[in-house]
């Protein structure tokens, strides 16, 4: 099976802090990591390769430093990696990102399954998966928590819904996004890490993938960010005084006043 995994390098938002005085993000020393949900995608791809044989290729769109995320994917066992990088891609929203990624995938050409993580922890939109599937003209199923079987060109899988799950059958090739319940990602292997040392990451620019400049990056993005601001400080904050017993009494009274009790 030829499997493509979509990967994104993101700042570790768990480490991002707000400077309370200026209300701006403190990015110093915030490490860049593989989007946590993508780790589950990579793991599932590797397991499918172990079961069905074949090849796993990781693809990412990003600036040159995104190659680090691809190297980490190789240390986990991914066979090949492709970096889609070009100044023209910068500032892309989900539509323009999906466009570039689908162009890159069209160049890779051979695949039965594309796996992506549920969402990226910086953008949180969960849109690139479905939009890319649409641009490739392949079926899309979201929130897969278990792949039951793959038979020829059909896949049977469990899709997480709000109050349970569906068992869905889809034709292949298809694009799926996966949730954490699907597996436990592995740690890198020494052989994988050693492979990274001599690895040259394949990088394709707009011309290589036949991308129309007007559809890439900021230019190609239907949405634009017009403003960034800190979240509103939560209103009424009460500092309670007195012994712990007094404080608890005060809180309980307030909850009573507000009809919670």
């Amino acid at each position: 099976m030829n499997i493509i995994v979509l990967v994104k390098q993101v700042p570790d938002t768990a480490e991002v802090k707000i400077n309370r005085e200026t209300n701006t993000l403190i990015r110093d020393g915030v490490p860049s990591i593989i989007n946590p949900f993508d780790m589950y995608a990579i793991e599932e791809a590797l397991r499918l390769r172990e079961k069905h044989g074949g090849k796993v290729t990781a693809v990412t769109m990003g600036p040159p430093q995104a190659a680090e995320a691809l190297k980490e994917a190789v240390s986990l066992g991914v066979d090949e990696v492709v970096l889609l990088s070009d100044r023209a891609f910068a500032g892309a929203d989900t539509w323009a990102t999906s466009y570039v990624i689908s162009q890159g995938i069209k160049k890779i050409a051979e695949y039965e399954l594309i796996i992506a993580g549920k969402q990226a922890i910086d953008g949180d939109t969960a849109q690139v998966g479905p939009e890319t599937a649409d641009m490739l003209g392949i079926p899309f199923v979201a929130y897969i928590k278990k792949i039951e079987q793959i038979d020829g060109n059909k896949m049977l899988a469990e899709r997480l819904m709000d109050e349970g799950y569906d068992v869905v059958e889809t034709s292949l090739p298809a694009l799926i996004t996966v949730v954490k319940e699907i597996n436990q990602p592995r740690v890198p292997s020494l052989k994988g890490k050693m492979k990274v040392k001599s690895l040259k990451v394949t990088s394709w620019n707009a011309k290589d993938i036949g991308a129309d400049d007007s559809k890439c990056g900021l230019k190609g993005s239907p949405t634009k960010v017009v403003k960034i601001f800190p979240p509103a400080a939560r209103g009424q904050r009460e500092v309670l005084t007195g012994s712990m017993e007094d404080q608890i009494t005060a809180v309980v009274s307030k909850l009573r006043e507000q009809s919670f009790i």
Binding site: R186, V187, P188, S189, L190, K191, K193, M194
Partner: protein, 385 residues
């Protein structure tokens, strides 16, 4: 302190550390309480290629040596000595094949060991043969194209979990120390069963059982080297693995220090964190200094062994006895630093103290190690006229 590790040694260290933190720490208390073998962790170690560190590349390993193995063992021991024992005992069981096995045997077994597909155990100890290895009574009698094994091994690490067992048995009683031989026995061979799992003070994640041989027939090709080589193979095996035990000592000691200082920083008594009291500061300083000395000794001896030196017994004995004595003292002190909390199972140091004890006992008690060192010193002195 920087030990000037190579890029690859750092890679091994960081990967072992990642597994320790992500996979071992969260479940170590449970493994300890339930006497449970860490199957999932063994799988993670296998998949990370850590079982192949010291196996030559031609057999699917990474072709590294003692120092690399020590680095991995140290990191795993910081998290749990029960797990690192299961991992290190694998090396112990492999050395007979690695150091003395035929090409055919290496080709047959080493690749599976490198991938972690088959775990290994080393079977020397018996009820009457602990420090006195010559007391081995398990016999191996040649009968046509097979050897027949009879006897019982005691307290064997990875017993029941390993697929491969390297066993020392007597082939010719009359020849005394030259009458023992080493064999490879596979799990499932008829006549080879396991006794119950021991209920231990510490390293409870590690599986310790009896190995029972009752007219167990193995192909005669399963003898390692030739008849009479048994004790030499055993001694060389133990020489090679002593630094690993030393590394376990260094690891558990460091793990205990890290826990103790973390606790002490936030424990407030008399209006101050207890780290502000000299008594605690001095204890911590001594703990770290001793551990650092142990680490420096273990690494130096590992490098010495890896350089191909012939006569490594004294050095490896020193590394083992020093680092493990340090580990016992440091883990005990860690409990003391943490006071009542250190005594509670809620915190990991009481387990570390229980785990550390075995390091002074197995793979040659520290008393035997002292014998080795002294005898070697005396031999040297008698030569130097």
């Amino acid at each position: 302190m920087d030990y000037l590790l190579t890029e690859e040694q750092i890679m091994i260290r960081d990967l072992a550390r990642q597994i320790a933190v992500e996979k071992i720490v969260p479940i170590r208390a449970e493994l300890d309480e339930q006497n449970k073998f860490p199957t999932d962790i063994m799988q993670a170690l296998a998949q990370a290629d850590l079982f192949g560190i010291f196996i030559p590349e031609e057999y699917g390993g990474l072709g590294k040596q003692s120092l690399e193995l020590c680095i991995a063992v140290e990191e795993l021991s910081k998290a749990c000595v029960g797990v690192s024992t299961s991992y290190a005992a694998n090396a112990l069981g492999t050395y007979p094949i690695l150091l003395h096995g035929s090409d055919a045997q290496k080709k047959k077994y080493l690749p599976h060991i490198a991938t972690g597909k088959k775990l290994v155990a080393f079977g020397l100890t018996e009820a009457n043969a602990g420090s006195d290895a010559s007391g081995v009574q398990t016999t191996a009698k040649l009968d046509g194209s097979e050897y027949v094994l009879n006897g019982t091994k005691q307290w064997i690490t990875n017993g029941g979990e390993a697929e491969l067992y390297t066993i020392i048995a007597i082939t010719d009683k009359a020849k005394g120390p030259r009458g023992a031989s080493a064999f490879i026995v596979e799990k499932g061979t008829p006549g080879f069963t396991f006794g119950k799992k021991e209920n231990k003070m510490g390293i409870r994640a590690s599986s310790t059982t009896e190995l029972i041989f009752n007219n167990c027939r193995i192909p005669k090709e399963n003898i390692i080297a030739k008849e009479g080589m048994g004790f030499i193979i055993a001694m060389k095996t133990l020489d090679s693995s002593r630094t690993g035990v030393g590394a376990q000592g260094v690891g558990v000691a460091q793990g205990a220090i890290d826990e103790a200082i973390r606790f002490a920083r936030q424990r407030i008594q008399f209006g101050h964190p207890i780290t502000s009291f000299q008594a605690i500061q001095h204890m911590l300083a001594d703990m770290q200094t001793q551990t650092e000395a142990a680490r420096a000794l273990v690494y130096s001896v590992a490098r010495f062994i890896d350089s191909g030196a012939k006569d490594v017994s004294r050095a490896s004995a020193m590394a083992k006895l020093f680092a493990t004595d340090v580990a016992m003292k440091v883990t005990t002190d860690a409990v003391q630093v943490m006071g009542g909390s250190g005594y509670m199972k809620e915190y990991p140091v009481e387990k570390m103290m229980r785990d550390a004890k075995i390091l002074q006992i197995y793979e040659g008690t520290n008393q035997i190690q002292r014998n080795v060192v002294a005898l070697d010193m005396i031999k040297d002195a008698s030569r130097a006229k």
